[in-house]
Symmetry: D2
Subunit: 340 residues, 4 copies
């Protein structure tokens, strides 16, 4: 059993804590945060299933004033941890890194940090071996994590030469009041960072793309035009996707009409918070464009990076040297693929 501390109990941190708690070979030391948020208030109302550590003395007294039990200071928790999952706001992780070094604790940062915060830019499925024994990993962002799952899956099947992607990015999470768009699409300069990041993880593939922000909250939608090295039919692509435990194939005729249907389905499944770890690919969108293959992906932005982050723990702590076995163990503990 390795000891894991989650630092930052926001949208991603909450889900990381839940995901680690489900692993049969990991012990969740607790979570650390600096301010009284709705998530922390909910933790209290649930009866503190996880120990809460305060980022500093100020946070400690704020928590206590709000009636929220504190297990101690983050620095105390660091002494019990083998690895930190840092899910703080973008930029804060880089600062925290010094602290982690001081306590000799490894860390995995999320996609909001700059790449140079880490030794390795990591994706559990695509480059597991790069993370083996590393002190500091950085995960790909939510869009990139989901995108790479699909592209890496095809790449292993037929080889991929290049991809041209279009991302319709959900602009805010449910409950966000600090960002939002109203009746507007917003265009980003091309190529988007997800294409650039994909090339870092899968350097043999040439990638570019256009991103537009859309005023919705329940998941990104990505179209991929992939040029294969070896010809691949629609049926073979379906076969490949179907074999991947972090990908679901869905169909319009079954009621999966768009991103909101998928969120509804996850809620109906009883998944905590209506979360889904899997990306979904619509069978109905898979078409050939000459030799190219085109398809549409749903990315559940709040939870999609959880499995690959947990893979990262296995890699960094050398819990498992074989990537496929590591991923399979994460999947098993999270129930991924069990529904097939």
């Amino acid at each position: 059993m390795v000891n894991v501390l989650v630092v930052g109990y926001g949208t991603i941190g909450q889900r990381l804590a839940d995901g680690v708690a489900q692993q049969d070979d990991m012990n969740l030391v607790g979570v650390a945060d600096a301010a009284v948020s709705l998530g922390i208030r909910a933790l209290k109302e649930k009866g503190m299933p996880y120990a809460l550590y305060a980022a500093n003395e100020k946070a400690k007294s704020d928590f206590e004033e709000a009636g929220i039990p504190v297990a101690g200071l983050e620095e105390e928790a660091l002494q019990k941890a083998d690895i930190v999952l840092d899910a703080t706001s973008a930029g804060v992780g880089a600062q925290n890194k010094e602290l982690y070094k001081k306590y000799g604790v490894k860390a995995i940062f999320q996609g909001g940090e700059k790449n140079d915060v880490a030794d390795v830019f990591f994706h559990g499925c695509a480059n597991y071996e790069k993370g083996l024994g590393a002190d500091f990993l950085k995960l790909t962002s939510c869009n990139t994590t989901g995108l790479i799952r699909a592209v890496d899956c095809l790449n292993r099947t037929c080889g991929i030469e290049k991809v041209a992607i279009t991302i319709v990015r959900r602009v805010a999470d449910p409950g966000d009041y600090h960002r939002g768009l109203t009746n507007a699409l917003q265009v980003d300069p091309a190529p988007n960072h997800q294409a650039v990041d994909l090339m870092t993880i899968l350097p043999e593939i040439d990638a570019t793309g256009i991103l537009v922000h859309a005023p919705v909250t329940h998941g990104h939608f990505i179209t991929v035009v992939a040029t294969p090295k070896k010809d691949i039919s629609k049926e073979e692509a379906i076969e490949a996707f179907r074999g991947h435990d972090r990908i679901r194939l869905v169909r319009l005729a079954d009621g999966f009409k768009g991103n909101a249907s998928i969120f509804k389905y996850a809620r109906d499944l009883g998944r905590p918070r209506g979360d889904l770890y899997e990306i979904c690919i619509w069978e109905d969108t898979i078409v050939k464009s000459g030799r190219d293959l085109m398809f549409g992906i749903h990315i559940p932005q709040e939870s999609v990076t959880i499995p690959e982050t947990i893979d990262g723990i296995r890699a960094a702590l050398n819990m498992e040297t074989d990537g496929a076995r590591a991923v399979a163990q994460t999947n098993r503990n999270l129930g991924l693929g069990a529904w097939k």
Copy 2:
């Protein structure tokens, strides 16, 4: 133990089934439906925690074709049930009533049906005694149910002479594709039906109001201008609301910025589907207008009617003759008030 069948496994039906399953004095016979929906597919993926009955032979073969286990036909289930919670689409309940009569089963209809489908127009908190022993009850709609909770609470405290309400109605549920508004508010003719319905349940109060549909999915927002019979201060109103186990008082400073914060909080709480049974009243919105009291309410439209519907079972089957005790038992089983 009384035997309860839920007919119609949509947004409301799913939540009724979950709510009944939590009661210590009720047995859920199962759920019945006529078509393969996402909710039914999720039921299958969850391993059929509830028996599924087919509304008819056609439905039965559709379910089987989709690989969904069927326990039998709805008519068989009716023979095992003491009461049906009918959560079918508006209008269908009236047709089903003949079937329920044929099998001598009582039924509770949801707010979408016309009032004359039932012997009694029912609200657990406000007119429990009217439902005692009745064969057919109809629940108030989601907006009306939440609104009456608050108004009835005040009415018991200081007497209410009249209310003027403004409803900002969420136009669709998360996952709805059959209805929606884009960048538009839609005005309804006044008075809205919720005001009229309130007067049916609480005939001593004069009510009117204006309703506008807004393009959001996470809850209605209602403002009430209530004219009290006996003067009431803001503090007394807070005291009254605080004592009600189906009402939460929330504050902007705690992070509850609007309807989306409340949905987020319920998700963070781990409530199935991010549901909340309680209405929320913002302390920050409670103001006096001369002698009148004004305040703002959040209504979680998907789940708010569940407690009052379960109260209805207790009333219709004479399981408890005292309204306050019946409501308290429903609350206890649903965990309402436990967080205080």
Copy 3:
């Protein structure tokens, strides 16, 4: 002919310039701004119907670099002006005031500035005489301007004792990317500033209210519960509103279903930018609550303050001492009431 300079060529400034240009007794000196915006680019593409002055040397060179003809510096324009309409961003007007004083020019500020920027808090219909000869006026905000039109109209008819208002505030204008909400309503602390401001303009009326931001762009929606001094019927209220040239009565049956219908109608009318100066009141929403009168108003946020601001020019420069005649002249020049 009085000489008017518009400072700040954003959403409001553009419309002020157009409105002043339509007056038969006013000369538009031009418009001043500090940065190359889309509005300024459009001015150029239209062939510079208005002279553009640069707020400073930096702005001048920015304009020239973008190929936009500049007539000179703002300080030069101030020497030709009798009065400035300051439509800069909130807070900037207070800084500009020193400049206006230096050049002995009067000024009218918009609702975003603090009240103490001006000698008088002004509304053309409600307190015209307060503005006579004043050096510095501040207009009420868009919501308050529209709200006061309706309340002042009733107040002159039957006397108003108090109002309780609910504002559904559009969260952004069409084209805004710097603010927005996605699938969320946001609650403000009560009472909202519009109620407080109303009491400043109409001190004999007690006002309070609740405001909720909604993710739409085409107009605010306000409900008013007004307690009259002298009883007033629905028909009498309709009569009073119908007599007001800055108020339109609309009906659901005529196709006016909500804020978006009104914007569409103004576009179909060929109004520049689809602007409407009038507020709209739905006949279908006017109801009695005991002796109180309740009704729903549409506020076209981008253009509603234009008429009252132009009234302010007449008052500040003593162009007309009688409020009713001043307002009538503004109306005539803007075509208000012509459609009746």
Copy 4:
């Protein structure tokens, strides 16, 4: 001068009437409609700039009852017309065709009709010569019209082998209450009809694509991955687009952040209703994907088909046999390209 009648005075019909009225070689007989809509009410308030004909006796009496002047019955207008622009709801045009035949009047249908309603599926820029002398033309839909402009432009520059398109489709127009999505993206089966239609107009190109509906009203956004026959650089593509009078190149740095900026700009330009005839292509989105060229287009759905429809009049009535000259004349009359 040829005589043109517009049948159907909705979103498209209003704009067709305005566009025809601006042509120096066309006479607008008037517009015909069957019901009192907001557009018709606005026509009245504007003082009937166009004669209104009633589709039938019922419509005539409805108009008269609403106080709207009627010039006569549609059948009378047909006797004065050389050609009809049919902008009725989808499916109605096919019925109207019999009437047009009866009166020996040519007609151009909009994209909502089935292809077999017409002799020719028409796009002014791409296949003008096909429309010469034809009795019945059908225009491409709004998305397809804009898409083909860009693809045809490139095709003439370097030859295009295939295109893979992603359409983010605005789900409703401003003012629509009969359709809409709230916080949801909706996926269509691939390939979308726009790709199929493109191949009908430009049969030498292989096209496919994925369409997702988004909850916005101000324009579609399309990404195109185009495989050229002859290599083309980003700079050459910009050069080609820049030379096209129905295409605008826009830049993020100039303030064109997305679809809403473009609508705002058109409003600021003083274009009636804030309409734009041009499509916009963001320079910032043009990237190379290997040999392929990728770029992002804005389609102003309400007005984009007007120029190509007017081209169709010139073709069907043999007013001009040379496509380039016909298009240039339409452009000149609509002011297209004048801003360069």
